[in-house]
Amino acid sequence: MNKLAAKYLRPSQIPTKACHGCGLGMIENWLLQAIDELGFKQENVIFGTGIGCVGRQTFATWGGDNFGATHGRALAVATGLKLAQPDKKYLIVVGDGDAASIGTSHLIHAARRNLGVTVICEDNMGYESTGGQFSPTTPANYVTNSSPYGMAEPGFDPCDVVKAAGATFVAETTATQWHQTVKIVKKALQNDGFSFVHVRFPCNENFGAYALGTRDTLKNLEWIYEHTQGRKPDGSETDFTWETGIKHDVSNSRPEFSKIMRDMNARVQADMAAKAAAAAGDDKTRDDGHGTH
Amino acid sequence: MATATGTRTEILISGFGGQGVVRMGQILGLCAINQGHRVTMLKSHGTETRGGYVRAQLVISPEYVDSPVVEHADVFVAFSQPAYKKFYDLCDGTVMYDPELFENVVDDAPERHLAVPATKLSKEKFSNQLFANRIMLGALTRVASLDYEAMRKAMLEVIPRFHEQNLAALDFGYRLS
């Protein structure tokens, strides 16, 4: 175990059951680096996840408090949890299936509310824990176990979706961009609002094997890297290009969800107190804390 | 007829939406509660309110009310022809109706029908029909032998506005019969 892992993770839960060479462990280390550089304490960071390889292989590795929601529901749980524990930092690490498919409504509404969490969407371009089916982020025409003739459905870019919904920090990066990823995650965690970080990483076992024809980690990473550059090593253009980097940053520009709620409560209670004070001086006013019709 | 101060009393009020059916039941119910009675009120709900009728079924009793369903109304206040037709059979007692709203009543039991010209009187006295419901409530207070003072108080508690006119209308109805 490296120094960061020893500092923040649970020895009993490491190594995870992830396939050899899977990018999940590496990205988690980068997250730890960001946390460490920001000086966050373990007890102040809540680690939430979903179901899938991303969920299962990261759940309970974090040394602090953990929750592993059902498939796609991490943000629904976090919405309630944040109200009860508003001062904590939330790292919500989920798959593309969790975030961009089964849990998209929660993703959109968490962004709309500006829920104070940092979502790390670890995108292996498919449903890998169920054996490699396509997802809304599988690139067009690629073969998966449920797109044997090539991915025919149009996909979408989850960054566009959350930005449109009101996220205050949106960035895209990949498992081939260590320093950029750490920088982005640090910025994301400093936003008191909804931050979304989309990280593509290779699944050797399924996406690599079926879509790219190789289980070789390096080759799969290389394929991702080429698509961030738009060029193959031979100089020819790739079939498409991912623009990585910060896509949208209006960090701390609008109030965070739980703060909105607390501010409203303060307003309501101040109003009540004023009314009660007025009523104390006017005994004709009925003291009525309950609803009337 | 049983009265609200004796044993179980069943009151059925029905009409179209906007005629103050539920509001009337609410005042009635609160009045009884303030006098120490137990009260249930079922009100019709959902599509019913948009389509045909609104209905309030009240049961007033000195004891806990088991069945809240009005199956033998002591008083039935009918505000519309369809409501009258639909629920007439559920009434064993007095039917109160407003002849301005409908006139076609069953003629086998004239002694059980009480025409209360509430709309006409409201128009005459207040130059609009807004207070017809309160006139009817006043008349009902008398018919069901409910406490008039308690009814005045309950009405003011439930309806925040037009206190003066509402009191006048209630009084008008109460002194009618």
Binding site: I46, D65, F67, L81 | -
Partner: protein
């Protein structure tokens, strides 16, 4: 295993019989069931409501949106019911008591969240104000179609559930407090299975003046140490886990260890299941809430819960007036099912608001002779007193429910 002795003398067996005697300072109102459910929750210390509006539970959401900010709580209008219940789970894990409310169409969306909350032993209260179905049925009409769904509120088996059903506005108030208490003690979601009539009905309602003075409300406590999950144990009153205090607690969808770590192992599956089932089964004596009448001499006993228990009870009294030796059982605790209420060897007439027959099947299972259990199903409207009396009379005199319009008697 806990045993239950059914009281045939006391009419009502429930903790609020005592509470009612002790609370005298308060106000008497004319209010709806939804109001009582809301105020009961506030009185019990509920500080988060997350849900999605639906008839006839909408008013609970509206009342909550008004009341919670006044007491420092939070109203979340979630994107759907599934999100609502998950948000309640999150809030409860963070240390706040939480509730959601819905009716059938929303209730069926909650199974995923139920499973997660049950397995993680997360206290909360879920209200299902049942209406007639399937699906949207007749929107404003009552039903009792979720008797079994509430028991099997999630897939996968291996758990017990607690389900309570009130039959008056006042009872809805007390029972909601009770539901929150049970949720804390048993560390599990408690379902209030009510119906459109009780939700929408207005009735005299006593509301205590000072909620803080209600010493029978069980406050939230926190479990800050291992074991986070007392697997293999049926203990009650284990405080709920808390996320946010850095205890290192782990909460997940998987079969878990004491720490909450996911594990794939028969022994762990056994130990977890032992806990989820037996923490409830071993304490049914603490969960029994019911009302009976005339069981001493009854030859035919009417069984009903929720709103129609009221017309049914009047029907029983009417039948007795006509010389029928009729009795009445109203289970308030629907699950765990109180078999002991049906020990008497006599005829039973089960009245419920569905035609398929749900409660009746459990009574058939629990009663000494299933052939002596009769069914009077009705849908979208309460049984009338006349129907119930006729049914009881028919069974008493000729062992069968007479043919009545819109009354279903077959069970298969």
């Amino acid at each position: 295993m806990a045993t239950l002795t059914v009281s045939t003398r006391v009419g009502l067996v429930a903790p609020w019989v005592e509470w009612e005697k002790r609370c005298t300072d308060g106000r008497r109102l004319l209010e709806a069931g939804t109001y009582a459910l809301t105020e009961g929750a506030i009185a019990a210390g509920c500080r988060v409501f997350a849900g999605y509006p639906i008839t006839p539970a909408t008013d609970i959401a509206e009342y909550m949106s008004k009341r919670l900010p006044q007491v420092g709580g939070y109203y979340v209008q979630s994107e759907d019911e599934l999100a609502g219940m998950h948000a309640c789970a999150g809030a409860s894990l963070g240390g706040l008591k939480a509730m959601t409310a819905t009716s059938g169409p929303g209730y069926t969306l909650m199974h995923d969240a139920y499973g997660w909350s049950i397995t993680n032993e997360i206290p909360m209260v879920v209200v299902d104000a049942m209406r007639v179905g399937p699906i949207s049925g007749i929107t404003g009409a009552p039903g009792q179609g979720e008797f079994y769904i509430a028991r099997y509120a999630s897939h996968g088996g291996n758990f017990e559930t607690i389900v309570l059903s009130p039959s008056s506005v006042q009872e809805a108030f007390w029972l909601t407090i009770d539901a929150f208490n049970l949720a804390e003690r048993f560390r599990t979601p408690v379902t209030i299975l009510t119906d459109q009539v009780i939700s929408d009905m207005w009735e005299d309602l006593f509301i205590p003046a000072d909620y803080d003075a209600l010493d029978f409300v069980i406050p939230r406590k926190h479990n800050l140490m291992m074991p986070f999950y007392p697997v293999g144990s049926a203990d009650l009153d284990v405080p709920p886990n808390l996320i946010g205090r850095g205890t290192g607690v782990c909460v997940s969808a998987y079969t878990h260890t004491e720490e909450g770590y996911d594990i794939e192992d028969m022994a762990a599956q056994w130990a977890q299941t032992y806990r989820l089932i037996n923490k409830i089964r071993h304490h049914t004596d603490q969960l029994a809430r019911y009302e009976t009448l005339g069981l001493e001499d009854a030859e035919v006993v009417a069984v009903a819960y929720g709103a129609n228990a009221r017309t049914v009870k009047t029907g029983v009294l009417e039948a007795r007036r006509r010389g029928v030796k009729a009795g009445f059982v109203r289970p308030i605790t629907l699950w765990p099912f109180l078999d002991e209420l049906y020990e008497r060897d006599c005829r039973y007439v089960v009245c419920e608001l569905n035609y398929d027959g749900q409660l009746v099947r459990e009574v058939m299972r629990a009663a000494p002779d299933k052939k002596k259990v009769h069914f009077m199903g009705k849908s979208a409207e309460l049984h009338t007193v006349a129907e119930v009396a006729a049914g009881l009379e028919g069974v008493a005199r000729s062992n069968r429910v007479p043919e009545l319009p819109y009354i279903w008697t077959e069970v298969r």
